[in-house]
Amino acid sequence: MESLILALFVCLVLALVTKYLSIPAIPFYILAGVLLGKTGGGLLTTNEISHFFSEMGLIFLLFFMGLGLKPERIASNRTAVLTSGIIDLNVNMIIGFAGAYLLGFSFTESLIIASAFYISSTAMAITSLIENRKLMLRESDTVIWLMVFEDLVLIIFLAILSAGNQNLIIFLVKIMAVLGVLYALAHYGKEFLISILDRDDELPILFTFAAVLTTASFSLYLGVPETMMVIALGVAFATTDPDAFEQHARPFKDVFLVVFFVFFGVTVDFSGGVNWFVIGAISLLAVASKLISGLLTGIFIHDSALSGLEIWANTIARGEFSIALAVLYGSPLVGTTIAAMVIVTSIVGSFMAKYSGMLRRGIVSHGRHRAASQRRMH
């Protein structure tokens, strides 16, 4: 219990400082966990309570993702979303996988690292667009839709990874059945759900919490993992009143997810037997590979490499979903690598996103300057 209280207190301070400086908090939560956990003094240790909190954090993160997912929106914006999404997926998965495999990770480990390498942080990308006042840029739309596409791909990854030894087809049929049942419940119980959400006593928040936990607990009987169950619940609930559900689930998500980040940091062990070269290489590769996919997207969609630079700046940061993959499927070594990658990319990313405007102007004026001096020479 003391561990948890200490962790919450440290997070509170970190949240205050990072909000004040308007930099992303996620890397600092992880760093705090690292410094206070195994690698540092061992002041924080994982126990049953922290484990439960972390699990809740993951569950609510995925429930939220499900709520925000509206497949029909993608359909209305198909070509641009697909082009950028497919470039992003291919470039980053291939570079991530090849890099990890060549650096000595096994086939499965490389696959996990590649997935974590591919998924940018939706939370950090959106916050950076809002805080740096970039919403009007045409590249912003591309980034926003890219995040939606990545979320969809993540669900497919999670489904495949969590199938384990089960027959993939039977497993997918089970997931579809769960989704169908939840959809039907949301559809026929819509009026009941909305009447509950409209109340201003404790009922809406209690209902949201209970619904998410109950659905997650059903995974024991169905052989469908919790992750898939809560995403499906989110997608089904999104057909009723997603804003209300977001509002009532947000307090749980905010608190539990912070604990999830800290205790992920606690389990990471940077002290012994860590190959710094491998970790550094993956982190740098993660920054560089989004540059390639960003430039390609910029050229294909906006006809401009400069636009690509803007897209890159806002998608460098990896975050919550990469960590989720590490926690769910990563070995300790994979976890350490992903932790380092998240810390490096999110700090580089927040810096680039803040100064990308200056970078663009610098390149443009440099180009003009060079063109002018060339004209003078001729």
């Binding site: 929106r73 919403l135 009007m136 926003i144």
Partner: protein, 161 residues
């Protein structure tokens, strides 16, 4: 002027329109509760932005729809195009010394100006529809409704320094 509205996943709602002169204005209602307004001049590539709280945004909206005569006194004009283009103005006034201690009846507000006091704000409390016997105190803010000529008359005859 074509207004487009768009729902951006995770961000909020976007409203955008291009003016006849080719400038673009975009408003974003973000999920964090803040409102961002961007303006992009024609043939310019970098927009400028302002972030507002909901209260500030409503204030801006009032300025754009009606006219604020003084910075701390607001006025809103509402036009009902279905009622023969009826234009109603609502204006706030801080009560001047000459009106303090007098009732609405004493001041003969309705008879002299045609405008009506529909609310008075006193110490952060609102008194809606004050009776004719209502006595003004120092620091009161009165909300007056009427046609714009009646409001001008109210300002000239009742709110004398």
């Amino acid at each position: 002027m074509a207004l487009r509205s768009l729902n951006l996943p995770g961000v909020g709602t976007k409203y955008e329109f291009e003016t006849d002169k080719g400038d673009t204005v975009a408003i974003f209602f973000t999920k964090t509760g803040s409102i961002q307004m961007y303006t992009l001049q024609k043939n310019c590539h970098t927009p400028s932005a302002a972030e507002m709280s909901p209260v500030e945004a409503r204030r801006l909206g009032n300025i754009l729809t009606g006219a604020i005569i003084e910075a701390d006194q607001e006025s809103v004009e509402i036009a009902f195009s279905a009622l023969a283009d009826l234009r109603i103005t609502i204006h706030t006034f801080f009560v001047t010394a000459s009106a303090v201690g007098k009732t609405i009846e004493d001041l003969q507000i309705r008879a002299k100006t045609g405008a009506t006091v529909i609310a008075v704000c006193r110490h952060d409390r609102n008194i809606i529809n004050p009776p004719p016997t209502f006595v003004f105190e120092k620091g009161d803010a009165a909300l007056v409704i009427g046609e714009s000529d009646q409001i001008k008359k109210f300002e000239a005859e009742i709110m004398v320094d």
